[in-house]
């Protein structure tokens, strides 16, 4: 008997997404569970908005937008401004995100540092590590990791670390990444999916 097809982790049909009013759509797409997708497209096409709709930070104004039951999304937002002063350490950040302390040396070196004293690249690396290991104890297949422009602020020093961390995500976990950085996407070996191909396609 052939194996049963794996249900998609996200299914949308003619979905209209936005905040106070619809901004993109109709959007129709299916993301298989365990997929490794790079969502591509020009600025303003709605890549970040789609990720925010998945986490509930943006609204679905119409159509169908279904996340598989028991899916646990985590999101690395495009930017995270740091207040000054901000008396939290790297360890506090992992605790806030419900993440485990990673084995990666580069990340461990940041645990006792104050967040407002990290460089932009170190801050991005710590956030990335936290999102990737947030509630890692959930079944891998129920985890959906959303990374919005993860290559932002990564200098040469931590770029390879970021690639290494993302590649270590379990194979059953779904990974959805937006990026304009082709070199970074190539290093990760993801499938490219231009978002525009799924708009007005329903």
């Amino acid at each position: 008997m052939p194996p049963e097809p794996v249900p998609p982790i996200l299914h949308t049909q003619s979905a209209l997404l936005g905040f106070d009013r619809p901004v993109i759509g109709p959007l129709s797409l299916e993301i298989p569970a365990g997929a490794r997708w790079a969502l591509t497209g020009p600025n303003g096409v709605g890549k970040s908005l789609l990720l925010k709709a998945i986490t509930g930070q943006a609204r679905v104004h119409g159509g169908r937008f279904e996340l598989a039951p028991r899916t646990h999304p985590s999101l690395l937002a495009q930017d995270h401004a740091r207040p000054q002063p901000w008396p939290l350490s790297g360890d506090d950040w992992l605790r806030a995100m419900g993440a485990r302390v990673p084995e990666h040396e580069g990340v461990r070196a940041l645990l006792n540092r104050r967040l407002d004293r990290l460089s932009g690249g170190q801050w991005q690396l710590l956030r990335l590590a936290a999102v990737l290991t947030s509630r890692e104890e959930y079944p891998s297949a129920q985890r959906l990791i959303l990374l919005d422009e993860p290559a932002n602020h990564l200098d040469a020093e931590v770029r390879a670390d970021a690639v290494e961390l993302i590649k270590a995500v379990p194979a059953e976990t779904t990974l959805l990444i937006t990026s304009h950085d082709d070199e970074f996407l190539q290093a990760l070996g993801l499938e490219n999916h231009p978002l525009a191909e799924y708009l007005d396609a329903g």
Partner: protein, 256 residues
Amino acid sequence: MPGDLLLTPFIAGVLVTMVLALAGAGLFLRGSVWQALALGQWAAVGGVLASVLHWPVLPVALLLGGGIMVLLQRSRDRERLPLAVFLAGLAAVTLLAANFAQASLAAAAWAEGQLYFAGPNELWAAIGLSLLTVLMVPVLLRVWLHAQIAPDVSAASRPAVWQHLGEIAWLVAAIVLGSMVLGLPAALATLLLPAWGAAWLARNFTGLVLWTQGIALFGFLVAWTISLPLDQPFAPVLVLVNVMLALGARLAAMLR
């Protein structure tokens, strides 16, 4: 005033200072200092209004403070609306004081602080709030830490609605009781300044909470020691001491 009579206000003051300092650390992390100003001012309106109507002060102050907090929580505006609400509260107290003799006395008491006259009622209220705080600390720390992560999203479940509501109710109780016991300016100074000073010195979240407690308690003891023998109102002395301690903490962090 005999020494044993001062034990009650001293203990009430210490307990309220510790609770306010913890609330201050939370408000600092949440970036909600304007909300604290508005809430404290409307607690004072409640206290002054209660004196005019001959009603018990604490329930009226809690009711008005709670109502204001509900209003502020419904808006995303963290600066202009709380500032407008604070100014409206200031105007309300001034108008009440201008038109009613009892209100004028009550307004002066809220401004200067009545710590030396705190009695068993205030002490029991402070003990009750302190015990509640001990029980609520894990919830408060979780809510404040979770509030830091946006716009990132964790796969972990968010704090439950009752935990958010519990935090708000606790903040209202802390600010209202703190303003009643220490006086409004002293309560606000204890809320805002030790946490701000501690934020420059602390290495992490736990350090923030501990440094805030240390600065606030030290400030209380210094103000108590200065204001009693010099026969000065407690609240303004505490405000000045806290300003100096917070600036000292900032300076110490710069020199480190």
